[in-house]
């Protein structure tokens, strides 16, 4: 018995990709195994931990809850793309300054989630930041440093208001 496959064409971090994928393969496994984009991580494999967070057509999704086959014609962005474009350079710098990552396994997903929150505009309260991150699991930091870093970037992006 051979697993059924599909042909897909999509753009990943701005690069066109066309591939034959197993119909059952999820997006994060496709990114990691077929495209060797290993910055997105697999944590729980059922949509709880957020380590596999990637951007699909402009909005973040769980890479483990989307099938690669569903991404035909889509625009996918990962931590590699957001890093190379400089879009989240200030967030990354703030995470590094504040030691808002320890083992770093959750960090790519955490950064994509944070960027989506900040793209909504304004300076969210600490409680709002915590709520927005509530689908991203970090075992190391206890979250406070992550909230601090995101809060600092939100303030800096809004004219440095304290």
């Amino acid at each position: 018995m051979t697993a059924p496959t599909c042909e897909i064409r999509l753009t990943v971090n701005g690069e066109p990709v066309s591939c034959t994928v197993e119909a059952r393969k999820n997006l994060v496994d496709f990114l990691r195994e077929d495209l060797a984009l290993t910055g997105s991580h697999v944590g729980c494999e059922h949509g709880v931990c957020g380590a596999c967070t990637v951007r699909l057509d402009g909005a973040i999704v769980r890479g483990c809850l989307v099938l690669a086959a569903q991404c035909d014609g889509a625009r996918v962005e990962t931590i590699e793309g957001l890093s190379d474009s400089g879009e989240i350079a200030d967030l990354q710098a703030a995470f590094e300054r504040r030691n808002a990552l320890q083992c770093g396994y959750c960090t790519p997903g955490m950064l994509l989630t944070a960027q989506e929150l900040l793209r909504n505009g304004g300076v969210p309260s600490r409680a709002q930041i915590r709520e927005y991150l509530s689908g991203n699991y970090c075992r190391c930091t206890g979250y406070q440093a992550i909230v601090d870093a995101i809060e600092a970037v939100a303030q800096a992006r809004n004219g440095g208001a304290r």
Binding site: M1, T2, A3, K25, R32, E33, L37, T38, G39, S40, H41, V42, G43, C44, E45, H46, V48, C49, A51, T78, I79, E80, S83, Q92, A94, F95, E96, R97, R98, N99, L101, Q102, C103, G104, Y105, C106, T107, P108, R126, I129, R130, E131, L133, S134, N136, Y137, C138, R139, C140, T141, G142, Y143, Q144, A145, V147, D148, A149, E151, A152, R162
Partner: protein, 798 residues
């Protein structure tokens, strides 16, 4: 305030000789982690690599009657299907005992179950295929016929004569027992005005590392060498174990850790499925990769705690504690975990209970029993959360009984700061602690009086808030007393090799490893400071047994205190070597020279004499210009192990402030404070973040995390939707303060800080909940995790 703290202080060479000690230097490995450019073992792929998936026992206890692999063997992409008896020919079994835990016993454990499966999730058959998905497909085709046996699940009845014995050859289900009496506990209880007695329960929970356990084993028959890319905390320990059980010499094995996605004690043990992966690589002569999925992680990553402690305390009406007694029972699954054993946690509980206090009258018993559940072993803060919650729970219940403020009873009984060296009731030795200074600092930080007033005011409005404390001690910087004396080949010493390269930069190879704590930064800080270069010029190499000095790795809060000291001494030694060369080039006495900010200078006035680049150029490329007989030695190695004290005990105190919704039973954490004393602080930011992360891990144990088993030994909540972990929304902001009492056992004076948060948080949260509910007459809650239903039951609402 937070944003100001966001930027580490400016670094200046003027602060020498301590330029980087005490500074929040950013970690060199952060950018690759934040840009998705890290390499975790789960990212590793090798030529000819195949993947293994395991058929695991669906039963907690069963005889394996028959295994039929025929269909699986012919499934697409399958390379091999291997059973327990077949793999036992490749790898010898192991037994998790240590000689210093007198009487501890366990049975041989094999990479795959042989004859009997003894917990739900134990690997029974290995399927190796081209991809993980194909291996899992073929697992479905393996037929295993089991005869289910009566499972032993309740630790309370594990020793009953009627209960089946899990390993008949051992005679009973008792793994280990320790009894300890000190002082005169009977007299202590007779002298007490009040005796408080209760039973504390600590539910099983587990590590839930964000990156599951993972290994890529690569046996190369052409070199007769095994390279294991292994997400482990202890590379040299694993090198020894892989070699020993494959019948190889240690030099035939290389362990490389890569980046490690969280560990917390989970990744410092021997796992049957990882050993099986290594054995399969040897058997099949190709690289084999195993990445545990989340369900496998829940049923095979070591579980933690699972203790029932009957405890009592005697107290006089003036607050003097007169006696302690504990009776601990813990269930550890069917095997004592190799090589550290599953007896250490119970042993620690006996060692640590009552530890912060002067009362010497102490009676303790700890029993460790086998059961048919997943194995239990050392997890972050081993034993401390239990000993601390029991001790501090008793202290606050006693205070409530005699109507004394919980800080007052501690002031009356904590070992005075000027009474050291001292010892705890179990005989553990303390070099120097600061309980009272820590308590005073905490009281000021939290504005205790104002908080009590607020609590009282809100109670009038029907809002129930609680304040709870936990004083604690923490074992750090372990000497050979921890494992080495018991016969385990787990190094307590660590080495560092530093090398001046040809352009004046420094390479430091260290035996400690990195799983996110920041050891890489700390080692760089130590070397940069003691040698005298800007930290940007220090490159740290770790996590590779071919390329680092022999060492223990990173666990038991040892990396900074032990690995840091070795690096500090190695930097100093290299400085002497380099100044000897500089003296010869400059025709100056070496003792009149110094290295500052990467330049050889006159020690007296700091005037620049020679750059390191120039010195290295001469030493490496024009040694012919050096005087006859002068040989530059530009590599230095030093080792360090604590000798004066078996452990560098740290201490501190935590406080939790929370609100209990008495209608729903939900607990809202409002704030948490910790003052701790880890001696010299090498990197304040990293210490604070270890404390914060540790506290949240302890909060998880107190409120959320629980591996729930049914009476058949089936784990009912082995996934992240049903097993709750701390998430950002429920966690409080945490304030951290410090008292600094360096250890005199090392020049740096640094003790460990990795586990203090986890040690104290559960007890503080428990005490805060009970403080909140006391005016309502609730029965004290002592059964972790404190879920809403338990709180409503205590209030008589369920």
């Amino acid at each position: 305030m937070r944003i100001a703290e966001d930027t580490p202080p400016t670094l200046t060479a003027l602060d020498r000789p301590n330029s980087y000690i005490g500074r929040s230097v950013p970690r060199p490995n952060l950018a690759r982690l934040s840009q998705g450019r890290a390499q975790f073992v789960s990212d590793v792929t090798l030529p000819r690599m195949a993947h293994v998936a395991f058929v695991r026992s669906p039963y907690a206890h069963a005889e394996i009657k028959r295994i039929d692999v025929d269909k699986a063997k012919t499934a697409p992409g399958v390379i091999a299907v291997v059973t327990g008896p077949e793999l036992a020919k490749v790898m010898t079994p192991w037994v998790g005992v240590l000689t210093h835990l007198k009487g501890i016993k366990s049975a041989p454990q094999y990479p795959l179950a042989v004859g009997r499966a003894r917990w739900q999730g134990e690997a029974v058959v290995a399927v190796v295929a081209r991809t993980r998905a194909l291996a899992e497909d073929a697992c479905e085709l393996v037929e295993v016929e089991y005869a289910e046996l009566e499972p032993v699940t309740d630790a309370e009845t594990a020793l009953d004569p009627k209960t089946p014995v899990i390993h008949p050859e051992l005679g009973d289900n008792l793994t280990f027992e320790r009894v300890h009496t000190a002082g005169d506990p009977d007299k202590g209880f007779r002298d007490a005005d009040e005796i408080v007695e209760t039973t504390f329960v600590f539910g099983r929970h587990t590590g839930v590392c964000n990156e599951p356990r993972t290994i890529v084993a690569d046996w190369n028959p052409s070199e007769q060498r095994l390279t294991a890319y292994h997400a482990t905390q202890a590379p040299h320990m694993m090198q020894n174990l892989f070699a020993k059980h494959l019948g190889l010499q240690e030099h035939q094995v290389r362990v490389v850790t890569k980046d490690v996605g969280g560990s917390f004690g989970i990744k410092v043990h021997t796992y049957a499925d990882e050993m099986a992966t290594v054995a399969l690589s040897k058997l099949l002569n190709r690289p084999i990769k195993f990445v545990a999925d989340r369900i496998e992680s829940f049923v095979t990553d070591i579980h933690a705690r699972d203790h029932r402690v009957k405890a009592r305390i005697g107290v006089k009406r003036d607050g003097t504690i007169t006696a302690w007694e504990i009776d601990d029972l813990t269930g550890i699954g069917p095997y004592s975990v190799y090589p550290r054993t599953s007896g250490i946690e119970a042993n620690q509980i006996v060692n640590l209970t009552g530890g912060p206090y002067t009362c010497p009258n102490y009676k303790a018993r700890a029993r460790v029993v086998f059961q048919n559940k997943n194995v239990m072993c050392q997890y972050r803060a081993v034993g401390h959360p239990i000993a601390t919650a029991v001790t501090e729970g008793l202290v606050e219940l006693a205070a409530a009984k005699i109507g004394m403020d919980p800080l007052q009873i501690r002031r009356r009984n904590l070992i005075p700061d000027d009474a050291h060296p001292s010892q705890g009731p179990s005989g553990i030795k303390f070099e120097a602690l600061s309980h009272h200074a820590s308590l005073a600092k905490l009281e000021a930080m939290m504005d205790y009086a104002a908080l009590r007033a607020e609590q009282e005011r809100l109670r009038q409005q029907g809002i129930y808030r609680g304040i709870g404390f936990a004083s604690f001690i923490e074992v750090t910087n372990p000497s050979a007393a921890f494992y080495g004396v018991g016969g385990a080949r787990i190094s307590s010493q660590d080495g560092a090799t530093v090398r001046l390269d040809a352009t004046g930069a420094i390479f430091c190879h260290t035996g400690v490893s990195e799983q996110g704590q920041g050891a890489e930064a700390v080692i760089a800080q130590c070397v940069a400071t003691s040698f005298g270069v800007p930290i940007e010029r220090v490159r740290v190499i770790m996590g590779d047994t071919d390329n680092t000095p022999y060492g223990g790795g990173t666990w038991a809060s040892r990396a900074a205190g032990i690995g840091g000291e070795a690096a500090w001494q190695a930097g100093k030694a290299l400085r002497q070597n380099v100044l000897a060369v500089a003296g010869s080039i400059l025709q100056a006495k070496p003792e009149t020279l110094d290295i500052r900010n990467g330049v050889v200078v006159d020690a007296a006035n700091g005037a620049e004499r020679l750059t390191l680049e120039e010195l290295a150029r001469i030493a490496y490329f024009r040694p012919d210009t050096l005087p006859a007989g002068v040989q530059a030695e530009l590599v230095a190695t030093r080792h360090y192990v604590p000798r004066a004290w078996a452990f560098a005990f740290t201490n501190g105190i935590q406080a939790s402030y929370l609100e209990v919704d008495v209608e729903s039973g939900f607990v809202k954490l409002l704030k948490h404070w910790c003052v701790e004393d880890c001696g010299t602080i090498i990197n304040p930011q990293l210490v604070d973040e270890q404390i914060r992360g540790g506290i949240v891990q302890g909060i998880g144990a107190a409120l959320l995390e629980h591996c729930v088993y049914d009476e058949r030994g089936q784990l009912l909540n082995g996934n992240m939707a049903d097993y709750l972990v701390p998430m950002a929304m429920e966690m409080p902001d945490i304030e951290v303060g410090h008292v600094v009492t360096p250890t005199a056992d090392s020049e740096l004076g640094a003790k460990g800080a990795g586990e203090a948060g986890t040690a104290g948080a559960p007890g503080a949260v428990m005490n805060a909940i009970n403080d909140a509910l006391r005016p309502l007459g609730a029965k004290p809650l002592t059964d972790m995790p404190f879920t809403p239903d338990k709180i409503l039951r205590a209030l008589g609402k369920l």
